[in-house]
């Protein structure tokens, strides 16, 4: 394992080194020490490497990740895994706002809680939060799966498109055009897989599923007072 001291060697050196890695190199395991809340750690990676961050990070950790597995042994600031395309990001602690925003693919696991707007505008990413999520989560979520083992805050799934939302605990309120939907076998199977990959022992049968009522897909004068 290669050790990179972020405080001593700087952000540019870290990201340029990680972005240069390919599967053909033998430098597939990295640890980042002294992150000290720095922003944009391990962004733009595009190789099947493993990066362990020993501490907490600032904004946009793992932004636009492709293929890499990033493990944060701490909490993360806003926008972790934003626009992730593939790969895995695991956060041992809590996540601030916009976790997994606009992500197209891959898996984001938050073992603590996630703040507001978790999964905002998600486009195919899978997100599993062991704890609770804040308000306006999955706002305008287009595709992918958001799994919440705890509770969800206000306005879950507002203006939702085709993402699937699974919540085990309570939902403070549903957003506009978001409704509870039937849990079928395909959803149970999907949840089983995601929970296992996220190392959660929650049971799929304990979750409720929420999705789009599809009433806002095309303009209707009689719908415009629901905002």
């Amino acid at each position: 394992m290669l050790t990179y001291d972020l405080e001593a060697e700087g952000l540019r050196g870290l990201n340029s080194s990680l972005q240069r890695q390919t599967i053909d190199t033998n430098q597939n395991n990295w640890e980042v020490v002294n992150p000290k809340g720095s922003h944009a750690i391990a962004v733009g990676l595009d190789a099947e490497i493993e990066v362990t961050v020993r501490g907490s990070t600032g904004y946009y950790c793992g932004g636009m990740n492709q293929q890499a597995t990033i493990h944060v042994e701490g909490s993360v600031g806003p926008g972790v895994a934003e626009n992730m395309m593939s790969g895995v990001i695991i956060v041992d602690g809590d996540a601030s706002q916009y976790a997994g925003a606009t992500g197209h693919g891959g898996l984001l696991v938050v073992k603590g809680n996630a703040s507001s707007r978790c999964g905002i505008s998600m486009k195919g990413i899978d997100i599993v939060v062991h704890g609770n999520i804040g308000h306006m989560s999955a706002f305008m979520a287009q595709a992918g799966n958001l799994v919440v083992c705890g509770d969800a805050g206000d306005a879950l799934g507002d203006s939702l498109y085709e993402a699937w939302l699974f919540v085990r605990g309570s939902v403070k309120s549903l957003g506009t055009d978001c409704i509870e939907k039937e849990m079928r076998q395909e959803h149970i199977a999907l949840l089983q897989d995601l929970l296992a990959r996220a190392e959660s022992d929650a049971k799929p049968e304990d979750f409720k599923r929420y999705g789009s009522a599809r009433q806002l897909y095309n303009f209707d004068v009689d719908s415009n007072t629901i905002y």
Binding site: H39, A40, Y60, M64, H104, S121, Y217, D222
Partner: protein, 444 residues
């Protein structure tokens, strides 16, 4: 009634005009606001309200056809390893595949490239055709993040973080179901045929301090190689420009209310934002106050139509301009040769702006394969190239007449204003005077 008694002549209201009344009736019948494309159509103070003074005894001109007048401009010199060098200071503004047909996007790329300038993606991502046909392509980074991915980001020659658009400051994109074809839906990860109304705010940052960190992330992902533009609408140009600079922008793109859009509410286009003319000087003032005028370049858009407009924008302090609507007209938009079809759509050539319906007879603002096939990308590109060349020649003509050997040397002192309003906005003297409203030291 005695027919010999004079009667009051019917008087049409200046407030409730025929157009206003028609819109009231349309709204009452449909329950939906008017949606259209393009920019503000109302008369607002504009570049036409300015004149160049030209050379005289106090200045001497350059020979029109013999003495060189530079038109090139380099954008992104502040932080990027690879600034963009353009042969002409006229760029093509962001317009999406989805709003425009693939043929139109290809034509914009081909035309801009052959004229030595850049073109720009839009809300919907980058298409291979667009990349392949554009020598210099600016990749827009928008609130929706439709089609956004790091691979395309790294293919771009510059990144434009869109905060605002002159046609709809504070509003998000709109693409109605008629244009959400299979390909457009796939690129945007949306169900086919929905009315797409995208977010007005970026999903993962909210203010200028966040924006600074977002720009850091984008630079880290792209190895600090390409310039990052920040596009703002003409609303509070002094503060927005200053904050964009503070956040780390290489280039500020300033879009006034005449700047076009693919589709939004007419009330938004006509009633939100300020004219391009009014926005330039405050933006330039912010750059000057921060000591970065020319280090951070300013691109101005919104109603730029000819070389005079280019020269006037640059004289007021811009480094370059961007054109959208004018470029579409050069490609063939609103061409009178389609008049019969415009009439069938309830419009007329020159006024057709229902771009959101996807029925454009010119094949430009459509996703209908048969209509789109009407536009030959190579012919259309040639027209755009010609138009860009003409604009450049016109701007050079004016610059030489004012005694400048570089378009960037045009300055406010070359200008005067025809109206008090334009004088106040452009901060140049009313023609024949030394005065403009708010001139320092005049007391009023």
């Amino acid at each position: 009634m005695d027919s010999k008694i004079p009667r009051t002549v019917p008087i049409q209201s200046a407030t409730f005009t025929k157009e206003v009344n028609a819109e009231i009736r349309r709204a009452a019948a449909t329950g939906i606001y008017d949606i259209r494309g393009g920019g503000a159509k109302r008369r607002v103070p504009h570049f036409d309200d300015l004149l160049f003074l030209g050379a005289s005894v106090s200045r001497y001109p350059l020979e029109g056809y013999r003495e060189r007048c530079n038109t090139s401009v380099t954008l992104g010199t502040r932080f990027a390893k690879n600034p963009i060098k353009l042969d002409i200071p006229i760029t093509i503004a962001g317009m999406s595949f989805g709003a425009l047909s693939g043929q139109a996007k290809e034509a914009l790329g081909r035309g801009a490239s052959s004229a030595g300038t850049s073109t720009t993606t839009g809300d919907g991502g980058m298409t291979p055709e667009e990349r392949d046909h554009s020598t210099k392509l600016v990749y827009q980074y928008l609130p929706s993040r439709y089609g956004m991915n790091p691979n395309d980001l790294r293919k771009a020659d510059a990144i434009e973080v869109v905060v605002g658009q002159g046609a709809k400051p504070g509003g998000g994109g709109m693409l109605l179901g008629q244009k959400i074809s299979d390909r457009v839906a796939h690129m945007r990860t949306l169900p086919k045929g929905i009315d797409q109304r995208s977010a007005c705010r970026h999903p993962d940052w909210t203010g200028p301090d966040d924006l600074e960190i977002k720009l850091l992330e984008l630079r880290e992902i792209t190895n600090w190689e390409v310039p990052i533009y920040v596009k703002i609408s003409g609303t509070r140009p002094y503060f927005d420009t200053a904050l964009a600079v503070k956040a780390g922008a290489d280039v500020v793109v300033l879009d006034g209310m005449q700047g076009g859009t693919a589709a939004t509410q007419d009330v938004f286009i006509e009633h939100v934002g300020i004219p391009t003319l009014a926005a330039i000087r405050p933006a330039v003032g912010a750059l000057q106050d921060l000591g970065v005028h020319r280090e951070v370049q300013l691109i101005v858009s919104g109603g730029v139509r000819n070389g005079a407009d280019v020269a006037k924008a640059m004289a007021l302090g811009a480094d370059a301009v961007a054109i959208g609507t004018a470029a579409l007209i050069a490609l063939g938009d609103n061409d009178p040769k389609w008049e019969a079809e415009y009439q069938n759509l309830g419009s007329t050539a020159g006024a057709y702006d229902d771009w959101h319906e996807g029925l454009d007879p010119a094949g430009i603002t459509t996703q209908d394969p048969e209509l789109a096939a009407r536009l030959d990308p190579i012919d259309a590109a040639r027209r755009l190239r010609n138009y860009l060349k003409v604009m450049t020649l016109e701007a050079q003509t004016i610059a030489r007449a004012c005694g400048h050997n570089d378009l960037c040397n045009l300055e406010p002192e070359d200008l005067c204003a025809l109206t008090v309003e334009a004088a106040a906005m452009a901060q140049v003297p009313l023609a024949g005077t030394e005065w403009y409203p708010g001139k320092p030291g005049t007391g009023y």
